[in-house]
Each structure stands twice: as structure tokens, then as C-alpha cells.
Amino acid sequence: MSQLLLILFIGSFLVYLLTRMNWIIGVLANIGLAIYSFYRLFTFKVGTSESIFSLIVNQNGTLVYSELSKFFGIISLIVAISVYFFLINWLEKQKNRAVFNFFLALITASTLGVFFSGDLLTLYIFWEIMLLFSVLLVQMGKEDSKKAALNYLTISLIGSYMYLYAVFMLWNRYGTLVIKDIVQKISVETSIFKWAVLILIAAAGIAKSGIFPLHTWLRTTQGSSPDAFSAILAGQLEKLGAYMLVLTVAVFPSLKMFPVLYGGIPVFNYVLIVLGMISILIGTLMAIKQNDMKMLIAYSTVSNSGYILIGLATMDKIGFAGGLFHAFNHAIASVMIFLSFAAVIYRTKTSKIDEMGGLIWKMPLTFITYLVGIISLAGIPPMSGFISKWMIFVVLVKKGMFLTAAAAFIGSVGSFLYVFRPLAGVFLGQLKSKHKDVKEVPIFMLIPMLVLVVITVFFGVIPGPVLNMITAVEKELNIQPLEHTMTVIKSSVGQWNTLTVFTMFAVGFIIAFILYMVFPKAKRIPLTNQYTAGEFLYNYDLYHYSTRFYAFFERLYEKHPSVEKLYEMFGKFFKDIGEFLNRWFYSASPSAYLLWFSIVLLAIFWVRW
């Protein structure tokens, strides 16, 4: 594993140099690296551990290859490979190609590093590498992306410093940072210590996967980062958050560490579930309001992270599997959606829903990608997204957690609403006259999108392979494994067969098609031939309903409280304090420096740190 990581890190410098020479070769090299590491993931033996450099005395950094690392590694490499393929054409219009490629390669390398880490400090180091380069990538986007990057950096740093504090606490107490050792020792600690450590570690995951209250960076960051990178952000980096959450709820044995409450769920996990519920509600309701399609899906990420968190936090065999499977599905689906958006923006240069329309006639394959993506994201059979949502619903109902279930139901039905908005506004309806000459995107952008479509449909019909990986993870984490066969998913409250559902859907479609063919053929008329209450129109740009699609629903929660505004208030408060200090205490002269320096020194001597 250290060898693979070394290859990846050195390879990324190589990618940089190659891209400087010829950017296509650079992208191909990047793809090659990713495919190579994808292949290597299957050759590693689960359970091997290696030690690498030592940073602290007596403490070697360790890398451990577990089922969990394999699962998340596979997700993030599928995402990475498809996005890199996409770049073959997409990067053409981008400035700073070399740096872009270099950072992407580094991010993939450090992401894998996080998944392989066997101790908390190594994890932290890879985490920070990933964070640094993703911030640098975010600010390469639209004009307001600098501000977004700052926002992203601040909230991620809140998360990672809290994590670092937990690391210090653990080091202070045990003198070791290897996760396995800590896990064995921690369950006998005082509850305050346990709470503090786990909440601080979970904070990193919460910040990264966009759970309330640290979700505010997602909207601006996803909205203004480079389009292809948004896919990486949603599919790869936010799954790091999910990994971190798995670490807090399952690797640290929350069942043994905390008293068990209603439904057999540890009290710590209840806190997470409540956060997940709030995230689902906020994500859903805010996504319905957005006019920028990338921001819309960014909020849907908030909501889906809530699902993942709820599923994981139930610590039940179905729920945990549902959470993991949802992480997989959401990664694939959001990459599909963001890639199709990137394709749309590549051609139309806008991401506002109400500035587009009717692109289905120009970009049908992109449309199909988006369609399959949203069917999976919204959790509608026969795509794979439904399977994970089903598992989460089942566990919530089985345990009698009705409030959480209601939130999950709102999120699920609400997702029909928000995913339909870009579908209707961007792809369906009247083609805007300024987009008359838009063409379908080039072939290398289509290939990854369509491959992802096939993957989603395949795992929707035959979820067995993914479920096998998930059960392996569950076994490793001492959770009872999920019962399933290749196509049947069983739970204690009933089962269902994905293949039967798909077959019946096909049968239904065929019946409908036969009926369709039997009866008289319809005449194809253009979209400008419309029922207009008898009036004839000439400007059909205005005849497309896409502005404030759900205005009547938005009106119901217009005056909602906003966390974002609260944070802005804090920000302004600190800025004001800074200005105040600046005005009163700061003067740019050597004597002032000397004065403050001596005051601080005296204070330190006085309290004798």
C-alpha cells in the first residue's frame, strides 16, 4: 500500500510535467494511474498492515487495508476514473490545465491515503493534503469561487482542527494513535471523554459530508467550483466524510461505549441521527428553492448525507448496509448528475435553470445520463438508489423511529420535487432561441456518463456484488451481516427481489409499447405548436415555465431561519472586532510592537505556562 501511495504521489508530479508538455497525455497518464490503483485495490490482501514514516517518537505511521478501505477506495476510484475520462474533452477550455490535473491526482492519492490509514495521525496528514489541494481547485472556478473556497476552507478547518484536538486528547491519554489499540481501550473510559473524542472526530466527517450545522459551505462551493471538479467534490471528497462517520459510529464501537436507548441505538448515535434528520429537511427544502442547478444538487447532497448518516448511525445490519450502499449510490448518482451539468454548462455557458430549456433535443445522451442519475438519487426503482433508501426506511420503521422516518419520507418525496426542476427547466420544454446551435458534447465526455448509467442500472437490477462488499465490511466491524442473495434483499420485516421488479417493469413497458404500436400513428408536430388558449405566439422563449417552479410551495416557508445568515453574522462580528482592535490597539511602529510583545510576555510569565 505504501508502494501504491508512493507511486501515486510521484505519479502526480509526473502528471504535472506531462500535462505541461501535452495536456492530453497528462490526462491519459492520470487515467492510467487511477486504473492502476483500481486494479491494485483488488490485489491487496485484506487485513495487511504496513508501517511507514514516523512523525512522533515511538510512533510509526501505519497503513491498514480493510474491507472498509476497499469499499470506499472502489467508490472513489470509480468516481475519479469517470471524471478523468470526462476531462479529455472538458479540460480543453480550462486554463492552468497542468495544475488542475496535478491537484486532481494528488487528491485521489491522498483520498486513498485516508482510507488506508491505520492510525489517526496518518489519516490527519492525508486529510489535510486532500483539503489543501481541493481548496486550491475550488478557487479555479467562477469569479466568486475565491470567496467560496475561503468558506469551504474555514468550515473544513473547523472540522479538521476539532479532529486534531481529539487526536491530541487520545495521544495524551494512551500514547498511541493506532486505531485498533484505541478502540480496545476507549470503551472503559469516562463518558465525558468518550463523548468529547467521538464528537470531535465526527465533526470532521460532519463538515466534510455536509451535515447540519456545518453544511453551509456546500452551496457556494459546489455552485462555483469548476464544473468537473464539482463531481469529484460530490462523489469522492464527500464520501471521505461518510468514511469518517463510519469510523466514529462503527469502528469505534459506539454500541459498547454508550448506553443504549430506544430501538437499540447508542445515545451518541441519536445525536448524529438528529443532525441527519435536520440535514435531510434543510437539504430538501432549500434544494427546492434553488435556481442554480449546481447549488440545487449541492443541497440535495446535504439531504443525502443525512440519509447516509442516519443509516450508519442505526448500527443495524440493514441500516448500516443501507448507509454504506447509499454512500455508493449517491457517489455514482451525483457524479452522473454533475457530469451532465458540466456537459450542459460546457455547451451553454450558464448554470441558471431559467436561462435554459429544451436541451433534450440537442443533447439527448446527456439528458439520459441526468435522468438515470436523478432516478437513482431520488430513490425510484429500478435504479440502485432505491435499494439503499429502502434499507434505511425499513430499519427506521422496524425500530419504530417515526419522527426520523417522517423526515426520511419528506426527504425522499421532496427529492422528486427538486430533481424534477432541472429536468423540466433545463432539458424539457421549449428550446431557447439562443441555444439553437448547441450540439451534443464530444464522445469522451459521453463515454464516462453512459458507463455510469450502465453501472447504476446494473446494480439496480443485480445489487449482489455491492452487497457482498458491504456484508464483508459489516462482518469486519462486528455487525451482523445483511442477508441477501444476488437479487433478493431480506430483512426481518420482509424482502424483495430487484430482478422481479425490473422484469415486471420491462413487462409493463412492453405491454404499453404494444398498445402504443397497435393504435393509429400520431403526427409529429414541433414544440411551437401548442395549446395557447387559441392565441398564436411567435416568441416561445417566454413560453417555458421554469422560473420559480414551486413558487406556491416556497411561499410556505419563505421566512425560514437560516444557519448561513447566522454564520455570516458571526463572521461580521469577528470582522468588526478585528477592525475595532485594529483601530484602537494597532499602530505600525516599533514601539507599539515592543509594548504588546512585553505585555504578552509578562502575562505568560505571570500565569507560568
Binding site: N529, Y531, G534, E535, F536, L537, Y538, N539
Partner: protein, 179 residues
């Protein structure tokens, strides 16, 4: 006047005669006679008829009264949006020969000069009884395959278009109100 039909078309015509969905183009005073024919006293629904909101779903097109030049353009546009087979019923003397507006510069005198009309109901305005008489007659005509206005419109499209152009100038006006 009827045409050769296959057995399927005969069955289809039979069904069409029992389920006539109408689009009532309420331009004139005739519209006021429709509510009584729809509600409890006469109850149009027992013949399988019902009002429809859009021309796409409708089978019969009721022109309830005089047509001004402006409304005629819309009538033609709407008529062409209806799916085949479609039937037109003209209400009242205004649609037959202009009625009391025969000398108006703004209303046309006979509808069948511009679109084919399968059936006229005389009267100013026709009472619901007359309307029902007309509908049963229309049902008979559809069953017998005599209501072939839509075929005539297709066959004599040139003639109808020429008449429309003669009276209206351009049929679909493109001015500041249609932007």
C-alpha cells in the same frame, strides 16, 4: 354523403358517436345555452358528452354564435390543433348567414366558407331542446359516417385556405401583441 369505411373504422365511429368531448368556443351569446344543457335538467353527460379544456382532447368544436374577424383566426388555429376526426357544430343563425350582424364590417357571415361545419343549429339562440336534437343528429351522422367535415377540410384544404386568405388577409397575424 358517406365514404367507404373498414370494419375497424365503423367500430371506431360507433365509439366516437357515444363519447363526444366538446370544446366550446364561447365567443357569442350561444354559450349561455350550454350550462342548462349540461346541468341537471337536460344532462348532456348521459349522451357521453362532456366539456374539455383543450382542443387536443376534444372531438367536437362548438362555435356558439357570431365570429368576428379576429376570433375567426383563433378558431382556425384551434381547429387545426384538434386531432382527427373532428366535428364542428355551428350555433345559431350568426354562424349560418351572419344573423343580425350580416352587415357588420367586423363579423363574418358564414363559417363553412372557412372551416367545414358538420351541423348547424338554427335559432337565435337555439334552446337546449334544439341543441339536443342537433347532438343526436350528429351522433347519427357520425355512426353512419356522414360527418366528414374533417376529411373535406383535408381534401379541399387549398380552397379553404384561399377563402381564409381572401377574407382575413394573412391568417396568423404577427404584430406587437404576438411577441
Amino acid at each position: 354523403m358517406s365514404y367507404e369505411r373498414t370494419i375497424w373504422e365503423k367500430i371506431a365511429d360507433n365509439l366516437r358517436s357515444r363519447s363526444m368531448w366538446m370544446l366550446h368556443y364561447c365567443t357569442g351569446c350561444g354559450a349561455v345555452e350550454l350550462p342548462p344543457s349540461m346541468t341537471s335538467r337536460f344532462d348532456m353527460e348521459r349522451l357521453g358528452m362532456g366539456p374539455m379544456a383543450t382542443p387536443r382532447q376534444a372531438d367536437i368544436f362548438l362555435i356558439t354564435g357570431y365570429l368576428s374577424v379576429k376570433t375567426l383566426r383563433r378558431v382556425i388555429y384551434t381547429y387545426e390543433q384538434m386531432p382527427d376526426p373532428k366535428y364542428v357544430v355551428g350555433f345559431g343563425s350568426c354562424t349560418i348567414n351572419g344573423g343580425i350582424y350580416y352587415d357588420s364590417y367586423a363579423t363574418i357571415n358564414r363559417v363553412d366558407y372557412y372551416i367545414p361545419v358538420d351541423l348547424y343549429i338554427a335559432g337565435c339562440m337555439p334552446r337546449p331542446e334544439a341543441i339536443f336534437e342537433a347532438f343526436t343528429e350528429l351522433m347519427r351522422m357520425i355512426r353512419k359516417g356522414e360527418a366528414i367535415g374533417w376529411k373535406k377540410y383535408k381534401e379541399n384544404y387549398e380552397w379553404y385556405k384561399q377563402n381564409q386568405l381572401k377574407s382575413l388577409g394573412e391568417v396568423y397575424v404577427h404584430d406587437e401583441f404576438h411577441e
